[in-house]
């Protein structure tokens, strides 16, 4: 049912954890659907230099979370924001149709983290 890439990221998720002094934190999902993702980013010179996640959810949720952390590391915020849930799924060689909707929310969580970073920065100005 899942692609090899999904299974690889599910079994060996990259960048699991928290960043205690993160510059931005984003959450997406809800317990009703059974998928919640939280993402922490560290930003330097407009670039994401570190990223970590924690996810409660199915294999698709874990794999998309893991995949997005790989995709964004080193990217500028604008580049990172351009990533969509669809492009994450594609990077994983696709997801089962039933999983496209609920469990594919890593890009949204990331956007929330970037928004959080920007809001904090605005406040600190």
């Amino acid at each position: 049912m899942y692609s090899e890439k999904v299974m690889d990221h599910f079994q060996h998720p990259r960048n699991v954890g928290e960043i205690p002094d993160a510059d931005g934190v984003g959450v997406e999902g809800n317990a009703r659907c059974g998928d919640i993702m939280k993402i922490w980013i560290k930003v330097e010179d407009g670039r994401i230099v570190d990223v970590k996640f924690k996810t409660f959810g199915c294999a698709a949720a874990v794999a998309t979370s893991s995949m997005i952390t790989e995709l964004v590391k080193g990217k500028t915020l604008d580049e990172a924001e351009a990533i969509t849930n669809k492009s994450v799924a594609e990077a994983l060689d696709g997801l089962p149709p039933i999983k496209m909707h609920c469990s594919n929310l890593a890009a949204d969580a990331l956007k929330n983290a970037i928004a959080d970073y920007r809001a904090k920065k605005l406040q600190s100005v």
């Binding site: 409660f56 959810g57 874990v62």
Partner: protein, 385 residues
């Protein structure tokens, strides 16, 4: 360790003896049981023998057994068949909120057709209140359907007590016994039921064949109209091999029950006790009113599918609630009915045992599972250690 199969509530392998019993009816004795010549007569004899066996195991009469294409069909035939037949007597039905979809969805269809359905709640142990049920019966109630044991949490409902009430009140009573036939001793007279469904593949018989006990005098409008098979209650050339397989599997289960079930129950208790050692874990459903082969636990802060897949990678086949709901994203209606929150319901795990499971397998599960849970919890934003 070879694969460890702990999903017997979803389905079971067909036993060797059952396959042996079925094989002749594919090729040598393949005749149509309704025909007059010798070819058909052998099939007819096998069919009669199978019906007799099933009737005897259930303490029912020969003509009270209707073979169907599975448990879902038996449930649908019982519920829609009775509702349609007796619609002029009344349009009110009673069931529980933890029934299998093969009961709930026919009920919902009947609601669309103008029937009214009361869905009784269960307590935090998963049990129906007999008193509440008695109070729910109205003048226009024609049918009560309460499952014998729940497929997700294994809770055994007080069927005989409910049946005593429905009998007194003159209301038909159906029980979905798909999870209990083959595991528990079933006596339709003692259970006070009018209709009882079973499915062969839950007790080491083939898939695609089931049976409905229909108490003498109870009429049903068929789901499948056509030839006069099954005393006009279910048309279609009889699945002789499948029916022979069902009867053989039931006969074997019945004969071996007193030896096999206590062994399974002991394994179950080891498993429950072991799993409850994991922090933030609770047993779903009553510990005492429980199928001897069912373990259902909620493991907080983690999600069921991830857990299942990790177990699968270690060779352990389990389930996270009903097999049928695995295509859905909503947490199980049964666990929600127990009062669990969404998060906790999502973290449920069902391990259902069978006759081939061993102590060594239980050891393996109890070794394998805790580190997976730990790893998933470490990854979970809901968990703070």
């Amino acid at each position: 360790m070879n694969a460890v199969y702990l999903d017997h509530a979803a389905t079971t392998p067909v036993r060797e003896e059952v396959i042996e019993a079925m094989l002749p009816y594919f090729k040598d004795k393949f005749g149509n049981a309704s025909s007059v010549y010798s070819f058909g007569r052998e099939a007819r004899k096998a069919l009669d023998q199978a019906r007799q066996t099933v009737a005897e195991v259930l303490n029912a009469d020969f003509n009270e057994i209707v073979f169907t294409g599975g448990g879902s069909e038996a449930d649908n035939l019982a519920i829609k068949g009775a509702a349609w037949e007796y619609r002029n007597k009344g349009r009110h039905l009673i069931t529980s909120s933890i029934e299998h979809h093969a009961v709930l969805h026919p009920m919902q269809q009947l609601e669309r057709e103008g029937f009214e359905v009361t869905y009784l709640p269960v307590d935090d142990q998963g049990l129906i209140s007999v008193e509440e049920l008695a109070n729910a019966i109205r003048e226009d109630t024609i049918l009560v359907s309460i499952m014998h044991a729940n497929n997700e949490i294994g809770v055994i409902e007080p069927i005989a007590q409910i049946g005593a009430i429905t009998k007194e009140r003159g209301v038909l009573f159906h029980t979905d016994a798909v999870q209990t036939v083959g595991v528990m001793d079933i006596d339709v007279k003692k259970l006070n039921v009018d209709l009882l469904s079973m499915s062969a593949h839950k007790f080491y018989g083939p898939k695609g064949v089931g049976a409905l006990y229909v108490r003498k005098g109870v009429r049903l409008i068929p789901l499948i109209h056509g030839g006069s098979h099954e005393s006009r209650r279910r048309a279609g050339t009889e699945n002789v091999a499948g029916i022979v397989g069902l009867a053989k599997a039931l006969e074997l289960a019945d004969a071996e029950r007193s030896v096999v079930v206590p062994r399974i129950q002991r394994l179950r208790d080891r498993l429950i006790d072991g799993l409850l050692q994991i922090p933030h874990t609770r047993l779903n459903g009553s510990r005492t009113e429980r199928l001897p082969n069912n373990v259902s636990v909620s493991i907080e802060f983690i999600e069921g599918e991830s857990l299942l897949l990790n177990l699968d990678l270690k060779g352990i086949a389990a389930s996270s609630g009903s097999a049928c709901t695995s295509g859905s994203l909503d947490p199980s209606h049964v666990l929600m009915a127990l009062g669990l929150t969404h998060e906790v319901a999502h973290g449920s795990l069902r391990l259902s045992l069978g006759r081939e499971n061993t102590d060594a397998e239980i050891d393996y599960v109890l070794e394998t599972l805790p580190p997976i849970v730990e790893r998933l919890r470490e990854m979970s934003p809901l968990f703070s250690s």
